[in-house]
């Protein structure tokens, strides 16, 4: 396994300078996530409009390069998407990381495809999968309006 497949430039760059970072004022939904094994924390803020489209998404938190990059890329991908499409992207992403199934990515443009595929190397590192998936599970919780804290020890 080549380390470069895991630590691709896109990941390192997003890890260092995450997009959509910070608290979102007037958010409509939010959820927190926590990985007790390594201390990674994420807080997702969402603003859904009346059609349930993702108008705004931001996050706060701290963690390793993989978790920061994964969250940053995720916010870029779901911003502007409808509720259903956002959910579909989450499902496809989690399936790719956990079971290696292919992403159809029909809702993503080429740039977005490149970004999300940069995270696919994580599946070769079972101990790092939760770093990549924490924020995606947290986003699901926020979208569903459950507002329950996601704990990586309690989700797949």
């Amino acid at each position: 396994m080549d380390l470069k497949e895991l630590y691709q430039d896109i990941i390192l760059e997003h890890g260092k300078s995450p997009r959509n970072f910070g608290k979102c004022v007037n958010h409509s939904h939010e959820a927190k996530g926590y990985n007790p094994l390594c201390g990674d924390q994420v807080h997702i803020y969402l603003k859904l409009n009346e059609k349930k489209n993702v108008d705004k998404i931001t996050f706060e938190g701290s963690g390793c390069a993989i978790s920061m990059a994964s969250t940053s890329i995720m916010t870029e991908l779901v911003k502007g998407k409808s509720f259903e499409v956002a959910k579909k992207i989450i499902d496809e992403f989690l399936n790719m990381i956990k079971s290696g199934s292919e992403m159809k990515t029909e809702d993503l443009n080429d740039d977005q495809k490149t970004k999300i595929m940069s995270l696919s190397g994580v599946k070769q590192y079972p101990m790092r999968v939760k770093c990549a998936t924490l924020s995606w599970h947290t986003l699901t919780s926020a979208l569903d309006g459950k507002n329950e804290e996601i704990n990586t020890e309690k989700v797949d």
Binding site: L12, G39, Y125
Partner: protein
């Protein structure tokens, strides 16, 4: 001491990890096993296996003798008074749970205080927390300073008439602090308070003399002492083992069983219910022989030299910060690299065959105290060499390169 010879006694070092020689720097987590221990397990299962205890047949008699030989070796190894003071458990965690549970049942009331420290591993906190939940006990934490040393004057202030037991680690698995436990035991004993020492990290790395320490309880995990998993030791003064109630109930720990009453076996069986990890206990005798063959002083000197060498080298690498600077430090070095999360460090080092640990090392209280979320940790065993440290430093340089650190 020929260190090359020692490494060759550990079969695992002939394995390649990611195509590289294994540089194992995770001995605080668990040690590797010498061939003599592995062979003993194999031999025992092939030629000598039987359950120990009450069977009359030859195999059982032999197995019982071998099992008891290990008890005797442990007694000598930690300089206990009697083999009745050596209880085999699952690990140090179970040893501490045994004490917390039985001592707590008998001696802890609502509002009573249990004094531990900010250095403790979760296994020397959670069992006491159970008493906080079940009995309304209060847990006090003796503070540490930035160096990772317990502030003894503060510790002393926390001892009062409500303090019922003191439980403290002998060696921190994060900062490598060798705690002046003798001083702590003396302070507690002046107020007639018993002391449990968590010797999980110390047993493989420093000389243990329970008689000299005068501790009431001492907990050991054999898998960290070049021994098999599944075996731990609880040393306890005989007066405590006689006075405290039994822990786990079942076969082997009873004397007489009637419908209306049960009496318990004498020591040490009173605390060893059910079938024990027989082969593992028997094989642990080989671990003690291995330690003795090196000589505990040689081992201490070798690891001290390695630690000093590693600290000097790591200090020269930009952006590496060592966690804690205790007065007396063993071969445990936790560190951070500015701009790289410990989990990323561990993944990148693994690529070079370097096995370290990343996270909070079951010490969240300590990490909170030092304002750290997670750290990377390199910890040594007798088999490590200066070359291992050189490879570690090179791997850290590679880590800095991947993250493009200046």
């Amino acid at each position: 001491m020929n260190i090359e010879n020692i490494k060759s006694q550990f079969p695992i070092f002939s394995k390649k990890i990611n195509g590289k020689n294994l540089v194992y720097l995770d001995s605080s987590n668990s040690s590797q096993k010498p061939l003599s221990v592995i062979n003993r397990l194999d031999e025992f299962y092939k030629n000598e296996f039987s359950n120990i205890g009450r069977s009359i047949h030859s195999l059982s008699v032999n197995a019982t003798n071998k099992f008891e030989e290990t008890r005797n070796s442990v007694k000598d190894f930690i300089n206990a008074n009697s083999k009745d003071e050596i209880i085999f458990t699952k690990n140090a965690t179970e040893s501490i749970n045994l004490v917390a549970s039985t001592f707590g049942k008998q001696n802890i009331e609502k509002g009573d205080e249990i004094l531990i420290t900010e250095l403790e591993h979760h296994s020397n906190y959670v069992p006491w927390h159970y008493l906080r939940e079940s009995k309304g006990a209060v847990i006090k934490f003796a503070p540490i300073n930035e160096n990772g040393d317990i502030i003894i004057s503060e510790f002393e202030k926390l001892i009062n008439s409500k303090t019922k037991i003191v439980a403290v680690t002998h060696l921190s698995n994060v900062t490598g602090t060798i705690v002046p436990v003798k001083e702590i035991i003396d302070l507690a004993h002046k107020k007639k308070i018993p002391v449990l020492i968590d010797g999980c990290q110390s047993a493989p790395h420093i000389k243990i003399d329970v008689k000299d320490l005068d501790c009431d309880f001492y907990a050991i995990s054999c898998h960290k002492v070049y021994g098999p998993t599944g075996v731990g030791v609880l040393y306890a003064k005989k007066k405590w083992l006689e006075k405290l109630p039994p822990y786990i109930g079942g076969g082997g720990m009873i004397s007489e069983v009637n419908k209306d009453k049960i009496s318990y076996a004498p020591l040490p069986e009173k605390y060893e219910a059910g079938t024990m990890p027989t082969a593992e206990v028997v094989a642990f005798n080989e671990s003690i022989k291995f330690m003795k063959s090196i000589g505990i002083e040689n081992l201490v000197n070798h690891e001290r030299e390695l630690t000093n060498y590693a600290l000097e080298k790591l200090k020269t690498i930009n952006s590496v910060k060592i966690v804690g600077n205790p007065k007396n430090k063993a071969g445990v070095i936790s560190f951070t690299i500015k701009g790289v999360h410990p989990h990323d460090i561990a993944t990148i080092l693994d690529e070079d065959g370097v096995a370290i640990r990343a996270g909070h090392h079951c010490c969240q209280i300590l990490h909170q105290r030092l304002n750290l979320v997670a750290t990377a940790r390199a910890s040594f065993g007798v088999y490590n060499t200066k070359e291992d440290i050189d490879i570690l430093c090179k791997a850290i340089e590679n880590c800095r390169k991947v993250f493009d650190l200046k």
